[in-house]
């Protein structure tokens, strides 16, 4: 398909973990069989709690990490095995924005140098006008070109990070927790900026975040990860209004709402996320699920369309039925 920007086919990423010198290394199944497509113009929200593998998946998708198994396709082309110099044209189409702008910007480089680096990696020399245009796109000004990262606030640094990613005119930005290090008032500025850039430049996003409210604000489509697998995906409105997977339902119900007196039917999950070293058999969520039955332990459920929808899919033997109205 021509409008497929990014496709992940049965991607797995295992890490070796060695705790103590006298113990054997164990495999951490950070990503354990994920199929995912990002189409042109859409914003995919990739949500999950810590240890769900969402950040690892983002890094595999941008080819910063090699998958242990599976395929990464960019623009319909298999790029799983592409390495080194030949990765450059791919990097040009997909750029990444990181969580901590403090750590991802070189403190010894001026903003002009930071913004020129991606150009030079592509063998290009940017003009000053190009750099100024980039800064203006993210709400900064020409005078900022000669400054260094420490002279900026957290929000401004994140803008620089976004400008750097935009410099090579990518089709897709993969943003890993782009606002979680920012204050509330600044977080809103950056979220609005991302929305504006999408409208102006026709960008697509993969937005990796743990904050479900942030993701709802900008995403068209949602994929929910749990223990390295996608347990539910679909159009944002459908997933948020009538989650099909018990995990999604519990997750959404746990988010506090900034309005006193709103009573929410909260499902408080017991226990913690199991370790990805030794995930449960069958459905990874079954150990904490309020609906789990014997069958859940036997075989891992696959993503299947939810009743009444083709786009909305969940990996569950006992999905919640779709509701026509929002539950209060």
């Amino acid at each position: 398909m021509s409008d497929e920007l990014l496709a992940l086919k049965d991607v797995k990423k295992y890490f070796g973990l060695r705790g103590v010198p006298w113990q054997k290394a164990q495999a951490v199944r950070a990503v354990d069989g994920v199929n995912l497509v990002v189409r042109k113009g859409e914003t995919l929200g990739l949500v999950g709690e810590s240890g769900s593998g969402k950040s690892t998946l983002a890094r595999v998708a941008t080819r910063l990490l090699d998958p242990t198994q599976g395929r990464v396709e960019i623009g319909g082309k298999d790029v799983t095995k592409v390495k080194g110099r030949r990765l450059r044209p791919i990097r040009r189409r997909i750029q990444m924005v990181f969580q901590d702008p403090q750590a991802s910007l070189n403190p010894r480089q001026s903003v002009a140098t930071i913004l020129s680096t991606p150009f030079r990696a592509q063998g290009l020399r940017p003009t000053r006008a190009q750099l100024v245009e980039l800064l203006e796109q993210v709400g900064l000004a020409e005078e900022h070109l000669v400054r260094y990262p420490h002279e900026f606030s957290g929000g401004q640094r994140q803008r620089i990070g976004i400008a750097r990613a935009l410099s090579v005119k990518p089709d897709l930005l993969v943003c890993d927790e782009p606002v979680s290090a920012l204050d509330v008032s600044v977080q809103a500025q950056v979220l609005n900026l991302l929305a504006d850039l999408r409208d102006e430049l026709g960008l697509s996003y993969v937005l990796v975040a743990h904050d479900l409210a942030v993701v709802r604000q900008v995403a068209d489509r949602i994929a929910v990860m749990y223990l390295g697998t996608i347990v539910e995906e679909g159009p944002a409105a459908q997933v948020y209004e009538s989650p099909a997977h018990p995990y999604t339902k519990a997750l959404l119900s746990a988010v506090p709402v900034p309005e006193p007196g709103v009573s929410r039917d909260r499902i408080v999950l017991t226990g913690d996320v199991p370790t990805p070293v030794n995930p449960p058999s069958g459905c990874p969520f079954r150990t904490r699920c309020y609906k789990a039955e014997d069958v859940c332990a036997t075989k891992r459920p696959v993503l299947e369309p939810v009743e009444g929808s083709t786009e909305h899919r969940a990996a569950c033997y006992f999905p919640e039925l779709p509701t026509s109205e929002r539950t209060q």
């Binding site: 709690e49 606030s153 746990a254």
Partner: protein, 332 residues
Amino acid sequence: MAEPVLEVHDLHVTFSTENGPVPAVDGIDFAVAPGQTLAIVGESGSGKSVSSSAVMGLLPSNADVTGEVLLDGRQLAGLPNDELRKIRGNDIAMVFQDALSALNPYYSVGWQVAEAYRLHHDVPKKVARRRAVEMLDKVGIPDAARRADSYPHEFSGGMRQRVVIAMALVNDPRVLIADEPTTALDVTVQAQIMRLLDDVQDEFGTALILISHDLGVVAEVADDVLVMYAGRAAERGTVRDLFFRAAHPYSLGLLGAMPRVDVPPKPRLTTIPGTPPGPGSITTGCPFQPRCAYTHLVGERCITERPELTPRPGEGDHEAACHLGRRPEVIL
């Protein structure tokens, strides 16, 4: 409101640094009654954490603290460290944001909870340990007697935060100060911890001071709210006053900037331009004026005159520090 257990009046904290004095908290008042929850809300640099450390007497030696801190009417500020030590962890206890770093990695959790007990009770180690196990069990650590011998790194994030809460509650404190207690936790675990704190309050009548930037958590658990900006109180009132009758442009801005998970998204979030000021940036006028969208309605006064807290319509003692006398209309 019932008699407050902890009252703070006109608290000032100034750090002396190489670049001269840096004021971090510039005259705030708050009070909390038994069983009640006061939320102190603010962004980085607002002075919310410094205020709580000042109450505990935990600030470094270069901090100059003035004002009144009254526990049951007894002045704490200025007490010698030895006297304060008897109050810390006993009458006023604290729960920190990051449980992994707040726990000592070299000692078992049972030992650490027992230590908190023995610091204020002259009892044999065995008795303290029994008390620790009992407390760990109470905060929901499964198989507490056995797990007491485990070390912090052997627990998950949520369980570690439970340990920290057990440690804070072991002496039945009158006041519990929780500094962003769930910020480092996943949302499903956050729900567990908030429920635990709520249960504890019901059972022991503990007064809770919750320091948070998350308005969702605040809306859910707080009775009263104090909004801080640049070391000063911007607004205070009951939780409904703040969320339904916000009188300060900053509070209003914060509310508009919060995305919500339970309703379809607005096309754009309301934003506050600029960034929160760093500590020590003193203005003669209103500290929020440079970022305020309403300053043109007032004029010069915002720059020249510092607004004091004045009463606003509401349920209780709703006050805001803004020259704009009426409630600001929402500007998008």
